[in-house]
Every structure is written in structure tokens, then in C-alpha cells.
Symmetry: C2
Subunit: 339 residues, 2 copies
């Protein structure tokens, strides 16, 4: 079924049908109703490829995720992000195209996408974006949004959780509970989220005029086994608490602590980051910093769609709040005592 046929059946020209399809107000109400009825009756749907070619807008947004990330799909992070983004896109009648790229392909792939004019915009959740690519993106005029702030460039739109504050609060919580050898397993040092959380950790010390012992800082990789390995390296330093930069790593850290005969939280208090669904069921239930990844995905999609439709405004920099969720892995908490 073509627009021309719908036009014939409605007794109008294809232009008028096109107007109805695109919600152009310049159509007489009675005409619009008649056409809509025909469209409904014959179940007409405009060919989106043709629309895309003619209008220059495809209503497709691209989502680029790094596949190198070992935690890519064992950690619910990306799945949640995807869920948030697709939910909004579905509702707004946008389609989502997905690319999982490893670093070698990534540059080439993004270039390709940019010059392909298949996309109206893209969400880039990769953390290893080098400047040439950003340059290409900017020059191509393709709207894009980073998930996770860019370490240096401030002229780009991004969305991020408040990693610094979240980490800071977690560590303040541990210090307040009287822990004095608070260690941390950080994220990768080349990921901004890892860096920001470590800085939040450090800041919590500085606020009290203290400095963390460098021996208590170990880099992790956001994976479960990475958490285990890092914790094993940390144990000889006798920490009495550890802030782990992701819940998935915390799972590994808990395992390492158990195997070493440490009691949690008596010997070592543990705080994670993310509040993944299983955090509440861990042994013991994990105190953690909650971030709404799905919410971030939703906001990302909404923001990008807005940019696409309203032209590029000044860069959007959106930072979502986090929330410390206190469970038993960090020690006695008032709620429990009350019961």
C-alpha cells in the first residue's frame, strides 16, 4: 500500500495524505478525518526508508557500547541502560540501533555510522573515545550524547551519575562508623567513573583532615573475579573496611574475605556501588550506593531526542544523584537496632 493509493481512495492528493501522516495542522478537519479513516481501514504505514530519504530524518538513534569491557554483560549496567533507552524510544516512535564494538573496530565503525546518514543521533557509552572521533562527530553535525562525562572536553553533552558524591558519602559513612583503615577497590583508571569514585573516596578523608593510605587503594576492573583478586591483594594490609567501586566487584570481594576467614562486617565492613538487584540478597546484604541506571538511559534518550528535534542547544551536562542504601555489610545500622 502506497501513499498514492491512499490519496486516491481518499479523493485527495498524496501531499494532503502526507500532511495528515506528519500531523501538519494545515488540513481541514473533515479531510483529515476522512484520510485517517482510510489509513486505518487499509492499514497503511508509510515506508520509513522512503521517509528517511526524503526528509533526511530516520527516527533511528544509535547506541554504541564497548564490548571489550569484560563486565559488559555479567554486570547489569549496560542491560539496564539499554532498557531505559529503548523504553523511551519505543514510546516516542524512535528505533534503536545497537553496536557493540571493541576498541579496534570502534573508531572505524563510528566513522562509518557518522557518514552514513542512517542515524538521527547517537548515544555513546564507550569510555575510550578519542578526539578524532569526537571531531568527526562534531563536524558531521550528528547529535550525540556521552554516557559518562568526558575527562577533559567540556563542550560536549553528557549524562552521568554523581560518582564523586556517591563515593564520598559511602566513605564518610564508613569513617563515621569508626573505621580507620578504609580501603578501596577502584574502577579501571581509564574510566571516568572509576576515577571520579576514587576521588570521592579520597575527598572523604580530606574533609576530616586525613589522607588515605596509598597501600589501601587497589585498582579493579569492574568484574567479579577482579573484585576477588583485588581484595586478596588488599587483605594483607589489614583494612577494617573497604569501599568497592561496583557491586559486581563487591561479590568477588566478599568471596575473598570469606575465604580469608574475615567476618563481615565485624572484621571488615563493605560498601559497594550500583545497588544491583542481588545486593539485597548477598551474605550479608550489601550496603551500597544506588544509581538509577535505567533512569539514566531514559533521560539519555529523552535528551537526545530533544536535541535531534530542536537543534543543538548549548551542551547538556546532566548529573544524576546517587543514594546511599545502608544494609548490614557496613556494620550495625540504626534501623536494625531499632527492630
Amino acid at each position: 500500500m502506497l501513499i498514492e493509493e491512499v490519496a486516491k481512495l481518499s479523493g485527495v492528493s498524496r501531499s494532503t495524505v502526507s500532511r495528515v501522516i506528519n500531523n501538519d495542522p494545515n488540513v481541514k478537519e473533515s479531510t483529515r478525518a476522512r484520510i485517517k479513516e482510510v489509513i486505518r481501514k487499509v492499514n497503511y504505514r508509510p515506508n520509513s526508508v522512503a521517509r528517511g530519504l526524503a526528509s533526511g530524518r530516520t527516527r533511528i538513534i544509535g547506541l554504541v557500547l564497548p564490548t571489550a569491557q569484560s563486565s559488559l554483560f555479567t554486570d547489569p549496567y549496560y542491560p539496564r541502560l539499554i532498557q531505559g533507552i529503548t523504553a523511551v524510544c519505543n514510546a516516542r516512535d524512535y528505533s534503536v540501533m545497537l553496536w557493540l564494538t571493541n576498541p579496534e573496530q570502534e573508531q572505524n565503525k563510528i566513522h562509518q555510522l557518522v557518514s552514513d546518514s542512517l542515524l538521527d543521533g547517537m548515544v555513546i557509552a564507550s569510555y575510550l573515545i578519542d578526539d578524532p572521533i569526537l571531531e568527526a562527530l562534531t563536524k558531521a553535525g550528528l547529535p550525540f550524547l556521552l554516557i559518562g562525562r568526558h575527562p577533559t572536553r567540556t563542550d560536549l553533552s553528557y549524562l552521568d551519575a554523581d560518582n564523586f558524591q556517591g563515593a564520598r558519602e559511602a566513605v564518610v559513612h564508613l569513617l563515621r562508623l569508626g573505621r580507620c583503615r578504609v580501603a578501596t577497590i577502584t574502577g579501571p583508571n581509564n574510566m571516568i567513573a572509576g576515577i571520579d569514585r576514587r576521588e570521592g573516596y579520597e575527598h572523604a578523608f580530606h574533609e576530616r583532615g586525613m589522607s588515605p593510605d596509598p597501600a589501601l587503594i587497589v585498582e579493579g576492573d569492574f568484574s567479579e573475579s577482579g573484585g576477588y583478586t583485588s581484595m586478596m591483594r588488599l587483605i594483607p594490609q589489614n583494612p577494617d573496611a573497604v569501599f568497592v567501586a561496583s557491586d559486581t566487584m563487591a561479590v568477588g570481594a566478599l568471596r575473598a574475605l570469606r575465604e580469608s576467614g574475615k567476618r563481615i562486617p565485624e572484621d571488615v565492613a563493605v560498601v559497594g556501588f550500583d545497588d544491583i538487584p542481588s545486593a539485597a540478597h548477598m551474605d550479608p546484604p550489601l550496603t551500597t550506593v544506588r544509581q538509577s541506571i535505567q533512569g539514566m538511559g531514559q533521560l539519555a534518550a529523552e535528551t537526545l531526542i530533544q536535541i535531534v528535534n530542536e537543534g543543538t542547544a548549548p551542551p547538556h551536562r546532566l548529573v544524576l544523584p546517587t543514594e546511599l542504601v545502608i544494609r548490614s555489610s557496613s556494620g550495625l545500622c540504626m534501623d536494625l537496632i531499632g527492630q
Copy 2:
């Protein structure tokens, strides 16, 4: 940069450039080389929307996943599937479009996609596909592939793991170890994977002239908390082993067993299904049935692309083998004794 400009720079017509782009053999080698050089130099990339409109093929395949599934993204199943599919599509220069739909939207959405001619084919991993949709898909002539066999229709192409054999072997293993009250936590009864695994469980009994006690069969929902709840319901029946239809549920089941003071495997042996990455790190390490979900995704993409390019052959029915991975949650195993 348009094809016409490339043609001008190469001193040929756009037709010849088009031939080179599409690897048409009817081009003189010297001409082809010259054009390729120009393309490289000016970094020309054909507009895929225009190609799609002109050729009727977009090189985009759709992937439809059910979002209702509570385990959607806590279980690594779908992420892995996505990873497998995108890997192959990337390599073959296809793009993947993703839809996460809930049952209410699903029907409407698929209809929309079908009549939109944006897709060359689709992979449908949803389990609640009703006949009208399948009819629409078939009638539209859009190639599609189901992940998970259809319960009744045998004329459709699908890809599935050998759920029946995998479950059967798991239960045979438990029975051979001398367990006599082998329970099971099944998948949802409306998912074919859940049904096939339960039938494998039952068959293992029948092979030995036995029948499972119906009280030892409890339906689960493939989620961690579902596994916990189901196990709690099972414990009063005094099982000495349990076959859990997914590792994620097994996590919950282990938790329930621990809380009830049961030793694993001494009191209750446990076998899962999937072999998720954390299975080897559980306490105790989980015996489970391994299936390569990523491999399934890859094969799905390859098969669909083949169907798209070579026309619809007789329906493809591909069943991938599973493998029993014996760890300690199911009891003593020879490997361990040997050490």
C-alpha cells in the same frame, strides 16, 4: 559526497561506481581500481537509506526481546544472545535494531515492523508469539527466526538449545549418584524451554522405570528470588537433590538451602542450567548444564542472513547441544577424588 561526484572524479558514470560499490564483476579491473582509489581518497560512503530505498534491502535485522521477563537483564541470557548476534552482524556489515517489548505492545509493534519494510529480517526471542503475528510475518514474506522452538508449529525456522537432553543428563547424573528424591524447580510453564527441561527431568526417571513424585516439581520463573521461593516450598518435601532449570534460580535455591541449614551437596545435591560465569564461583561451585548462548546468537544471525540472501529455504530447525559441567554442588565427583 555523492556517488555522482565520485563518478565525475573517476571519469565514469554513476552506474559504474555503483557496480564497484556493489562488487559487480562486470567492471574492467583497471576501472575498478581507479574508482576504488577515488572512493578511498575522498572517503566516500554510500548513503544507506538511499540504497535501502532503491534496492529494497536495508541490511538491517531486527531483534525482538520480551521485556516482561523479570529476569530479562539480571540473567545474562539475553545480553549474551545480543552479543552473539551483533558480533556476526558487525562482521557481515549488517546493523541490528533492538526492540524490547512487553506483551501488550508486542503484537502491535511487530505488525508495525513488518509493514514498514525497514528490516531485512528479524530474530524473535519472545516466547509469547501468537498465531496472528506469525501469520502476518509469514504473509509479509519477511524472513524471521525464532529463538526457542515453537510449541506447535513445525513450519517455522528456529534455533534452540537441546533443553530436553541437557535436563535429562543432569537428572541422570543425580540419579546415578544415588539420589532418590530428586526435585526440580522448572522454568515458567508457558516457556518452551521450561517445558522441555521439565520433560527431560521426567524422562530421566522413566528411563529407569521410575516416576518423579509430583510434589517434587515446582514451577519457577527463571529469577533469583523465584528460585529462592520455589526452593523454600520444596524443602518440606525432603528432597535429597534438586535440578534447577537455570543457574540464576539456582543462586536463590542455594540461598534457601543455606538458610534452612541444609548442607550442599551432603544433604541436597544441586544442579543448575546455563553455566553462567558465576557458576564456578558459587558456594559450592555449581554443577550445571552448559549451553552456549552466545554461540546460539551467532548461529541465529548467520542463519538469518543466509535466509535473507538466499531466499527462504525449507524451515531451518537448529538444535544446539548442551554439556553437563560437573562441579561440587552435585556431590563427590571423580575428578575431585583423583586430586
